[in-house]
Symmetry: C2
Subunit: 411 residues, 2 copies
């Protein structure tokens, strides 16, 4: 008799965003004329950069001629894309990352889940609280946790609270952890990490032979010259960190699908007999066996991000969303709400007023202002009493949503 | 200290195709003027159908206007694509498959590996020998096997030989197995399965509460009206089979990347407490959490396969490769070699002459004829003494390669 992976039965309810979609749909059916504005899921709304579209059209044409047709590409991504990524995203910032250490993929969400394939089941795993739910759920599925308690916390995971009280900066653990998920600029709180904060993590990881999973999907939103864009700007990070990047938020690729993961060749972890094994080799084998590369057409689109034209266009896109974030911060503050993030980040993290729970605030905003955001408690127990508002929308929608929220909280 | 997944250390040498690439590269460096023709890896060579290219260009244009821009799509694929797949690939053939049971993905290779995520570690797993290496390697990585013996067989797997002696048809096991990988038309042997053969498997699976993983990536090559294209043409298969399909070989999408997996809602497997759990729910949760859907642009290309124009164009493509296969079969037979497959399939399975091993024959063909094929032993111990030749190439290359092989074996 075939058996299932019982770890799936430990997962609590639905993934956060399907639950939001369910409530919004129910509301929309009951109120078919409500002019709902969605600032919930962190999905981009503005057109794909012209440079990317032009490159993809050319690539489609190449597919029409057997002389330029492309079949299977390298599972790791084409060399011309990996070279540009290494040069412009890393070497230009002084990070010693080689093109062979870049693995192009179809999404950072996929990669942050799949990376667990190459690690053992006996690692102690630390996540911030609140946290991007995929980190937790993929560990539950992989059997790296116990069951969840009533507060939604899974046994076996080390939760590191990040709240206004500690300035949304996780304290370095006193206990020993093996795998550490960090995300800066942070989803969901919009917090950023200074070089000295990341250095403390790298020092901890090196001292404890831990591996840091550094999710830098939002690095493009950093405007402060002092903030690091990559963990490899910190000395020693090549020996303890894997970094995840995406074209989703800088170039608007959420529906086009391209991302990459950096696995330095200097990175090792222990096998059962205590010997050091290169993680690059394991990830390369994983990707070669369970993945077949990203669409040639899409990789050409991603490559265009690195052209002068592409760089100018993504700077404009990012600037547009950052201006949205500033408007959100200003208006919510004027409405008497406490806000965090929204600077060097596309997310604004709002303290719910009057002791409302996150879901109560969600329902109130939906009912009274027809605005959809994301309940902080959906990102973890310490997110209770907070609410995430995304800056990914048109200017008109952001202005209108802020006007309505202002009206709601004026009374 | 972070630890690795030690199961990766059980993997034998490199994946087959990288090893071939290594030998071919070494030969090419030593013989820079050798006119190498590659009939090894099963990669398509002819242009992408016009219908697909037109649809993708339109989709790229839509991405340039915020009114038609697409961000995150459904992780399971867009409804318009799933509906067409269900209607044309299944319902038209009398298979009771609903659009909601179709999960669009970026590759059948990915899906046949990832599917193991939702199954338990205590299943007994059966594969044919020879077999597509990904089925075996992903089970090794997942910890479902022991170590490999000198012959390359992994402990804990049930190997079902398919050779000329049993007409390349695996015998139904006498022991009890829980998960069974079947691939028809077969990679690598080019063998096909009759309805009665598949019925015997479905009956076995239903009697033993087993699940069949049915890889139908090559179904488009079936021209014989009596052969089933889908396992769901067999009564009862909805209760015991998951089917994998791909646009790689019918529409030339190896570099464009689109595929799909069918998980019927009637399919269950047992949880640890003995209750039945719907596999559809688990796979849906897996894909929602660890995947973010296929590029909108690519899905529009796949949808165009189902237009009248697209259907005519893929019929022409498939017919072209089948004619190549016929030429290969005819010429090799004329050269005194024994060949199998190549009818209703794009692969020709050759018995190596004069007791040569598969790799000896590989080296001989490379040296003497500058033709690259795939050693049968790379697909499993029972593939020793066989050799796979792929029909995926231009007519000129196929003609020239066959001429050279003919000359080599004439003497």
């Amino acid at each position: 008799m075939a058996t299932i992976n019982d770890n799936y039965l430990k997962l609590k309810a639905g993934y956060l965003f399907p639950e939001i979609a369910r409530r919004v749909n129910a509301f929309a059916i009951a109120n078919p004329n409500a002019p709902i504005i969605k600032l919930g899921i962190g999905d981009v709304t503005e057109p794909l950069p012209q440079a990317c579209r032009t490159a993809m059209k050319t690539a489609v044409e190449e597919m029409g001629d057997r002389a330029t047709f492309k079949g299977y590409g390298p599972e790791q991504g084409y060399g011309w894309l990996r070279e540009k990524i290494a040069a412009q995203d890393f070497q230009k910032r002084g990070c010693e990352i080689d093109a062979s250490e870049i693995f192009v993929s179809d999404g950072a969400k996929c990669d942050t889940g799949n990376i667990l394939d190459i690690f053992g089941k006996d690692n102690t795993i630390a996540v911030t609280d609140p946290v991007y739910p995929v980190y937790v759920d993929t560990n539950v599925m992989a059997g790296n946790t116990g069951t969840a308690n009533d507060g939604g916390k899974y046994g076996g995971l080390v939760y590191m609270p990040i709240t206004a009280e500690n300035d949304f900066t996780a304290e370095i653990p006193t206990e020993k952890v093996d795998l550490i998920y960090l995300c800066f600029p942070n989803n969901p709180t919009g917090a950023t990490a200074s070089k000295s904060h990341l250095k403390a993590w790298v020092d901890y990881a090196k001292a404890n032979d831990s591996i840091i999973f550094f999710d830098a999907a939002y690095e493009a939103f950093i405007t402060d010259a002092d903030l690091p864009h990559s963990i490899y700007e910190i000395e020693g990070a090549r020996d303890c960190a894997i970094e995840f990047r995406s074209f989703s938020k800088n170039a608007g690729f959420t529906g086009t699908r391209c991302a990459y993961t950096v696995v330095p060749k200097t990175l090792t972890a222990a096998s059962a007999d205590g010997s050091d094994v290169e993680l690059w080799k394991l990830w390369n084998r994983r990707q070669s066996t369970k993945f077949n590369g990203v669409s040639y057409i899409v990789q050409r689109g991603a490559e265009a991000v690195y052209s002068d034209e592409g760089q100018a266009q993504i700077a404009q896109l990012v600037g547009f969303y950052l201006e949205n974030a500033k408007i959100i911060c200003d208006r919510l503050t004027a409405a008497g709400l406490s806000v965090y993030g929204g600077v060097n980040a596309p997310y604004v993290w709002v303290k719910t007023p009057n002791g409302l729970t996150s879901w109560d605030f969600f329902d109130k905003l939906l009912q009274a202002a027809n605005v959809v955001g994301t309940p902080g408690s959906g990102f973890g127990a310490a997110g209770e009493g907070y609410f995430r508002i995304s800056a990914f929308n048109s200017r008109d929608n952001v202005e209108e949503a802020m006007k309505r929220i202002g009206d709601t909280f004026k009374g």
